[in-house]
Symmetry: C2
Subunit: 162 residues, 2 copies
DNA sequence: TCAGGATTGATGCAGATGCATTCAGTGCGA
DNA sequence: TCGCACTGAATGCATCTGCATCAATCCTGA
């Protein structure tokens, strides 16, 4: 009789969990050692910087980053506290607001990309041929109902800014 | 000129992060909806239950689970609070202790496996052929300096208890 | 035009986490 | 056998997270 999750599926599951957490830890550690804030800040700054006017509604940011609403709200608090972004009122919808990246924010995003891209290369790029990386993408996409394209591009586009 | 992290590597990185978090969230949610504690509790109970005497030194547990020391200490606190494990003194090394799983702990571990295995099947098994799952394993292993075998077996062995 | 429901964003609270430190106990070398 | 470095485990503190809830505004349909 076949096992419910096959041996292979179970092994894939556990590796997905373990490997991701190892690799993520490694990358976060490198950022931290370089004196940078957590990855989430980078992601947020990146999303803001690549948006047309350098500003986004919190709701948008939330969607891009797949973060819960309250987490987004607090992340913005921190960015604002550090002068990396500012809140602007939204005339069209008075419930809402815009979050705009500041020059300091753009600057930090670029600096972080140096360290971030190096970490990706070290922990992923250098361990997989491009062809294998592409295969891995394909397999992962089958699990994730596909990351939306915007997100898939988040890192790649960043590359052009270095 | 080639980009430092190739497009493929960057895409693999971002998918690894996003897909893992989606899948993990989904699985954790199902456990929670079924009224169970978090996955970490299962892992700990599983490690304890499969150890020869049903007990482990916190240090061992820590290694199996790749958790920081203080996290292990607190996880054990919670297990003990809920009567799922007990702390026993370690005569051989008075600094240390043993953590022993209780009947209630074994029971919960088995019950959780029902929900857990179903969730793995739903979110991983059903989306990948066994051959693809194996391929995914192979690629992930290249990134993770390989999960150690014990860990790789954590889920699979559990299957035999259902 | 107004009631009622949906959306946007913030926040109080409880629990979890990371970090550094502490304390007890061990074992080795002088 | 003493001193000292190391190991095993707990904990105080600040921060972060998850959850539920709130207030404000918006939208829709009668």
């Amino acid at each position: 009789m076949k096992r419910k999750p096959s041996t292979e599926a179970a092994a894939a599951w556990i590796r997905l969990m373990r490997v991701q957490s190892r690799v993520l830890d490694a990358v976060e550690q490198e950022l931290k050692k370089a004196g940078f804030p957590p990855l989430a800040w980078y992601e947020a700054l990146f999303e803001l910087s690549r948006s047309p006017a350098g500003e986004l509604r919190p709701v948008e940011l939330e969607k891009q980053m797949t973060l819960p609403q309250y987490a987004t709200s607090r992340l913005i608090d921190r960015l604002v506290d550090e002068g990396l972004a500012v809140r602007r009122e939204c005339k069209a919808d008075k419930r809402g607001q815009f979050v705009e990246i500041t020059d300091a924010g753009r600057d930090l995003q670029k600096k972080m990309w140096q360290a971030y891209s190096a970490a990706i290369e070290k922990h992923v790029g250098s361990k997989l041929s491009d062809a294998d990386a592409a295969k891995l993408c394909g397999l992962l996409d089958r699990l994730g109902c596909s990351c939306n394209e915007a997100q898939a591009l988040a890192v790649r586009d960043g590359a052009s800014t270095r």
